[in-house]
Amino acid sequence: MDFDFYLSTMWSVLKALPLTLEIWFFGIAFGLVIATGLTWLRASGYKSGEYFTRAYVFIFRGSPLLVQLYLIYFGLSQFDFVRHSPILWPILRDPMYCTIVAMALNTAAYESEIFRGALRAVPVGQIEAAKAFGMSAFTRFRIVTLPIALRLALPAYSTEIILMTKATALASVVTIMEMMGTAQKIQHDTFRPIEVLTCAGVIYLLLNLSIARLFAWVEYALSPHLRPAPDRSQQIKPVPEVL
C-alpha cells in the first residue's frame, strides 16, 4: 500500500474542503430561507399558496438534483432575457452560484415538507392552552408552536442536511473543483481511482459524522422532556427561553 500517495491525496482533497463547505453552507442557508417562505405560504390558508407550494414540491422533489443543476446552468442561459438581465446573468453564468441555487431550490422542497409535517404534529391542546391564556397569534407561535415544531423537525432536518453534504459532490459536473472535483482530477492524472475515491469517501464520511454528532447533540440538549425522567431532575438545566 502506497501510504505516501494516500497521504498526499488526502491532503489535496482536504484543501478543497473549504469550497465544499462554502457550497454546502450557502445551499442550506438559502434553502432554509426558501423553505421557510414555502412553509409560510402553505400554512397561510390561501388556496393559491397551497397550489404553488404543491407544484414546487412536485417539481423539485420529483426530479433529480443533477437534472435541476444542468437545467439551471446550461438551460437558463439559452434565454435571452436571462443573458440580458443585470441580476440573473451574473448569478447564472457562474457555476458556483448555479450549484448553490440548485441546491437551495432542491432542499427547500424537502425541508418545506419536513416543516409542514412538524407544524401539524404540534399537539393542538398545547396551542389551545396558549390561546386560552391570551397569547396573541405571534406570541403563541414564538413561545409554543415554533419551539415544539423545531424539535419535531430536527431529526428529519438533520438527515436532509447530510443529504446536502453529499449533494455538494455534484458541483464537480459543472467544473467546480470542490472535494469531488479535485478527487476526479487526481484520478485522471494518476489513474488510481480506488485510492483516490477511497480518500474522498473517507473525508465525506468524517464530515457527515461530525454533522450528525452536532445535530444529535442539539437534539439532546433541546429535548430533556422527551428523555426518561431523571432522578436528579433538580439539576436539569432548563432550555434557553428562545428555543
Binding site: 389551545e128 386560552a132 391570551g134 415544539i148 422532556h225 431532575s233 432548563p238 432550555v239
Partner: protein, 271 residues
C-alpha cells in the same frame, strides 16, 4: 380609543355589571348539529358553579365558547361587565370584532383542561411564568416569585424544574391549576379537571380546587365529581341536550331533583 366602548359597558348600571361573568342566550351549531340551544348563565364574584351533564350535552362547548376557543353563533358574553364585541363575518357567522379584546379577556379567564395541556418543552416553572411575562408583560422576577409560591401552595414546588411528561397526572393538573392562578384570573374555567386522572390522584386535585373555592375564587367547573358539585359549589347547573335543564342551590338540587332528567342523571351516577 378602543377602550371607550369597554368603559361605557362598565359604566352601564345594568345588573350584569355586577356579575363576574354573564352569558346570555348562547347558541352554537356544529354543522346542522345544534350543541348549545340558548344558554344563559351568570356568576357573581365568589360563585362556584358546577356544570353537570351527560357526555355530549355541550358542557365543554359552553366553556370553550365563553373564552372564544369556539366562536358562538349568537349570544353575549360579558366578563366583569365588559361585553365581548362580535361582528358579522362572511357566511353569516359572527367573529370577534377585536381580537385584542378577546386576548385581554382570555387572560382574565384562565382555563384548566381535562388533559392538562401544559407546554411540554418548558419546565413547570417556565409554564407558570410564560403567560404572565409574555401576555401580561409583568416583570419576570416578580412572576418567578409568585410562581414558586403557587407551586408551594399546590404542593409541587419540589418539581418546579421538572418537565410535564415527567410528572404524574395529578401533579400535572396541579401545575396546570397553578399556571392558571399565575394569571390572577377574574374567573377560572375548569373543563373536567379530574376526568383524565387515575382514581387515587383525583383527591389531590379536588383538594386544591376546594381551597380555591374557599378563598372566594369565581369558578365555572365542568365536572363529573358529584361530591364536589354538592359540597363545594354554590350553584349547580345541569345541561341536557344543549339546554339548561335545571339550575339551583346544590344541596337542594341533590336532595330534591327538580327535573326527571336530573334525577335520572344522579341515580345513574350513584349506581
Amino acid at each position: 380609543m378602543s377602550a371607550s366602548p369597554a368603559a361605557a359597558a362598565n359604566a352601564e348600571p345594568s345588573p350584569d355589571a355586577m356579575a363576574a361573568i354573564s352569558v346570555k342566550d348562547m347558541r352554537k351549531c356544529f354543522g346542522d348539529h345544534e350543541v348549545l340551544k340558548g344558554i344563559s348563565l351568570e356568576a357573581h364574584k365568589g360563585d362556584v358553579i358546577s356544570i353537570l351533564g351527560s357526555s355530549g350535552s355541550g358542557k365543554s362547548t359552553l366553556l370553550r365558547c365563553i373564552n372564544l376557543l369556539e366562536t358562538p353563533d349568537s349570544g353575549e358574553v360579558r366578563v366583569g361587565g365588559e361585553l365581548i364585541r362580535m361582528k358579522q363575518g362572511q357566511g353569516g357567522h359572527q367573529t370577534p370584532a377585536d381580537i385584542r379584546q378577546v386576548e385581554r379577556i382570555r387572560a382574565d379567564l384562565a382555563m384548566v383542561f381535562q388533559s392538562f395541556n401544559l407546554w411540554s418543552h418548558m419546565t413547570v416553572l417556565e409554564n407558570l411564568v410564560a403567560a404572565p411575562v409574555h401576555v401580561q408583560k409583568r416583570p419576570r422576577a416578580e412572576c418567578l416569585e409568585q410562581a414558586e409560591a403557587l407551586l408551594k401552595r399546590v404542593g409541587i414546588w419540589e418539581r418546579r424544574n421538572y418537565y410535564p411528561p415527567h410528572m404524574s397526572g395529578g401533579q400535572q393538573q396541579r401545575a396546570a391549576i397553578a399556571r392558571a392562578l399565575a394569571m390572577n384570573p377574574k374567573v377560572m374555567l375548569f373543563d373536567e379537571p379530574t376526568s383524565a386522572l387515575d382514581p387515587e390522584l383525583v383527591g389531590e386535585v379536588l383538594r386544591v380546587m376546594r381551597s380555591l373555592a374557599e378563598e372566594g375564587r369565581t369558578m365555572l367547573v365542568v365536572t363529573h365529581e358529584m361530591g364536589f358539585a354538592r359540597d363545594v359549589s354554590s350553584k349547580v347547573m345541569f345541561l341536557h341536550k344543549g339546554e339548561v335543564d335545571s339550575l339551583g342551590e346544590p344541596k337542594e338540587m341533590f336532595a330534591r331533583p327538580p327535573t326527571q332528567q336530573f334525577k335520572q342523571f344522579i341515580t345513574n351516577f350513584n349506581k
